[in-house]
């Protein structure tokens, strides 16, 4: 491939293939201590025999490599990202600035708490705000992401029951649940029992009653659920679960719908996790970092992870903030140190920016936007191909079925999603929840303007109209992306999960 080939720049080249012996970016600081031979300091048995094959590359080429890679990513700051259950809302730029302040970014996690009072106060204030938002009195910020919070919740449930001398073996999850819920149940040592969905999209109460035996430790519920529907029977559900002696767990992935309107604690939930990387604006980073704090009721509090951030002493700023490790009934530590503090800084900044009114407004607009887009997509020319799965007022998201498009146009939800890529928008979550055939799960968030929502509806209409005349266009989409449809089956069948010297992936040192 020559440098004049218009495709030369397109073929992916890894950083390892750009390596050339002798090039470098790093210059070591001065060697200011005696240059004792390494062999005298380390046992021969533990010396590396050959250096790790890391790239040898200059700083300009290193920067170009990663800037070029970055240009192959679609991202939230570029365009509409209605990925259901992921809450892709705007990430305010202030947050990056305050997170980078040396007092935050350069603070060692084991610094004496006396010299980390600002950080501990921030955590304490965030705990208080999250507690108020969820309506549960005690918060641990420790879990690293939503699924880690779920695991914490079930370990807390186990500790709670064991403390009462009870042994329970099952956890209920609705068939609409996020995949993390049943996966967590297994990791926490329980057996999954699925609960069905009623015709209105809520929990099937009869099914729940029949399965809520005294062997059940917990019901894990998302409300609004993954269909974007608020379960109107939530109080009855809580009653059934509590009568069985089980805890009620709130998967906070969809909390963005109800901030300042209703609180899980008031609905009867015992344990809640928050996704700070969804509801509270931590940028998603292409797959993390996140944070998954949990809030719990009084009866669960003794078991919370250690350490807890507490304030001791007087009110009005006179108190000192401490890390309390003395928690005899605690489930222990879920991870190192105090949690993803950098995420806490951003989420705390968000809560302070919006305040009580702003958080409620955010949920109001998220629900307004979702219902508006749902209405636009219910118009003639769209709804006959993409009917709404459950025709009710939705909360912050809704689910369409691609059943009609499959039957009438011969294109699948996957084809519609791939064709959207050519229109410069991110597709919705597809093929989830599982109980909806050819599902498209759409969450616009409060970030979007009416114009953006209209534009998306127009794109959907255009794709369907185009498919009516030529379905092959969608079936073979996308066309304008850095690569087109990839062989995922082949990748899984013959996994290549690292680069090896001599791999024939691409020409080494292209153009040089």
């Amino acid at each position: 491939m020559s440098a004049l080939d218009p495709r030369a720049g397109d073929e992916a080249v890894t950083i390892f293939e750009r390596s050339s012996p002798g090039r470098r970016a790093f210059v070591a600081p001065e060697a200011d201590v005696p240059e004792v031979p390494v062999e005298e300091l380390l046992p021969a048995s533990q010396l590396r025999e050959r250096p790790a094959e890391l790239p040898e590359i200059s700083e300009p080429e290193l920067v170009r490599h990663y800037v070029t890679l970055s240009s192959k990513n679609f991202h939230l700051d570029e365009g509409f990202y209605p990925l259901g259950s992921c809450t892709m809302k705007h990430n305010p730029k202030l947050h990056e600035r305050v997170a980078a302040l040396p007092g935050h970014a350069r603070l060692h996690p084991l610094q004496d708490p006396e010299y980390a009072q600002g950080a501990l106060e921030l955590m304490w204030r965030l705990q208080g705000a999250l507690s108020e938002i969820a309506g549960l009195p005690h918060v641990s910020l420790q879990p690293s992401a939503g699924s880690h919070g779920e695991l914490a919740g079930l370990l807390l449930t186990r500790a709670y029951h064991e403390d009462r001398g009870e042994r329970k073996t099952k956890v209920l999850t609705p068939d609409t649940a996020h995949g993390t819920n049943p996966a967590t149940v297994t990791m926490a040592g329980y057996e999954v029992v699925k609960v069905g969905t009623a015709e209105d999209g809520g929990v099937d109460l009869d099914d729940l009653r029949s399965k809520a035996t005294d062997e059940v430790a917990c019901l894990m519920l998302t409300n609004p659920n993954t269909l974007g529907l608020f379960d109107r029977n939530i109080e009855e559900i809580a009653g059934i679960v509590h009568d069985a002696g089980a805890t009620l767990y709130y998967d906070g992935a969809n909390l963005n719908a109800i901030m300042g309107v209703a609180r899980p604690g008031d609905m009867g939930f015992d344990i809640v996790h928050y996704n700070l990387h969804k509801t509270f604006t931590q940028p998603h980073g292409g797959g993390g970092p996140g944070a998954g704090p949990i809030a719990v009721s009084d009866r669960i509090e003794p078991f919370l992870p250690a350490p807890q951030v507490l304030r001791r002493g007087g009110d009005n700023g006179a108190g000192r903030f401490v890390l309390d490790h003395d928690r005899p009934k605690s489930i222990g530590k879920l991870r190192g140190f105090q949690g993803n503090f950098g995420v806490f800084v951003r989420s705390y900044a968000y809560i302070r920016s919006l305040g009580a009114d702003g958080l409620k407004d955010a949920s109001h607009v998220a629900v307004l936007n979702a219902n508006y887009l749902k209405a636009r997509l219910a118009e003639e020319g769209i709804a006959e191909y993409l009917p709404i799965a459950f025709d009710r007022t939705c909360m912050h998201e809704f689910v369409l079925s691609g059943r009609g498009a499959k039957e009438k146009l011969g294109i699948r939800t996957l084809d519609i999603a791939k064709r959207m890529l050519d229109h410069g928008v991110h597709p919705p979550t597809v093929y989830f929840p599982l109980l909806v055939d050819e599902a498209l799960m759409i969450e616009p968030t409060e970030t979007e303007t009416r114009e953006r929502l209209d534009q998306f509806a127009d794109i959907v209409r255009a794709i369907l109209e185009e498919a009516a005349s030529d379905p092959e266009i969608a079936r073979n989409a996308p066309y304008t992306t850095p690569v087109r449809r990839l062989d995922e089956a082949g990748a899984a069948k013959r996994p290549v999960v690292r680069w090896h010297p001599g791999d024939a992936g691409a020409p080494a040192n292209d153009g040089q």
């Binding site: 890391l54 040396p102 610094q111 109107r232 300042g260 879920l334 190192g336 690569v483």
Partner: protein
Amino acid sequence: MLGAIGAGSVEELFADIPESVRLGREIDLPPGLSEQEVHDHLAALAARNRHADAEVSFLGAGMYDHYVPALIDNLLSRSEFLTPYTPYQPEISQGGLQVMFEFQTAISELTGLPVSNASVYEGPSAVAAAGYLAKLETRRTKLVASRGLHPHSRAALRTHAVGYGMEVEEIPLTGEGETDVEALAAAIDDDTAAVFVQQPNFLGTVEQLGELAEAGGRTGALVVCAADPLTLGILKPPGEQGVDICVGEGQTLGNRLDFGGPSFGFFAASERFLRKMPGRIAGETRDVDGRRGFVLTLQTREQHIRREKATHNICTAQALNALAGVVYLSWLGKRGLVELAELMLRRTHYARESLGLEAINPVPVVREFAVRVPDLDGLFERARAERINPGYRLGHDYPEYEDGLLVAITERRTREDIDRLARLVGERAGVAA
């Protein structure tokens, strides 16, 4: 918009929420603030923390004050890396997916193990994830952990092991701060699913990893090593010494201290565990035009496909932090990593000699070492006044080292810094002039 919806008000859209569970009041939080006010409030909080630029710190114990090059701040702040979701649509996520593939390659090189995932949360929970893999693989009930494993890793392992129904047995360190290989051998039996050691261990000791792996793996238990990826620049890779799974804390690779997170954890293993690994894995493939590309692969391990049969529940991991890791390793490069690790090694030994204190682990160390300090409180008092942080008090986690101090050295701690600490140590009450 309400007209298009057919609703009279936004409140109507919430009609499904029963009145009885409505909040019925405003949430009790302060009103919103302007950008400037939020900035100033957070800056005031930050100013009350004594951070690593505001003192000379020898504090390590799992996170270390390394220099992070400017290009990392620059690249990580790009919206293209900062603001996408997990790459579910590979055609518009080739940047992030290729970064994962490169990250996996770098981790595989460092650890000497053929397969790596694209990151887990952080170090201690990565240790716990290895415990879960051992459970799935062996169906055995016991985990054996060296007391040289980071106290937080042991704690996280115990917490998670309750869930998957396993017990954790600890084995002691010798009088020289190494994992007691005989005690390890004695602790292993047919119920042992995995053995956990750390390289270098929590006291900084360079363990005889091959001997530990041989003793630990005797009965078919998996050998898990938690490693500091930076020191693997000069230490023999765990994968060349009989280790099955190598996990660790990635903060040392270009990540901030951030009061403990976010950083990343890594998880590398023998080929036979590829289909039991936790988390995302990027794989190389081709598109319909034959062009090279990358996808999330082996997803049938994962929660969103396999649900209760998944090999782990992890969804969101630490992609952005892993990006910092691979950029950092590329910045150091093949020779720079060795140079940096050798500088740390030499300064560490220089520091241990200079302090002239009784060593808890008088054996080879690489970036950190433990000593007994007769007047530990006095040293902290004198040092704090000079804005020097002498290190980590081992008594927090090891009652047997009540007077122990763990001293960490990075490329940021110069000879002059070390000499200052040595002078403070020498100024013991009744000893100083």
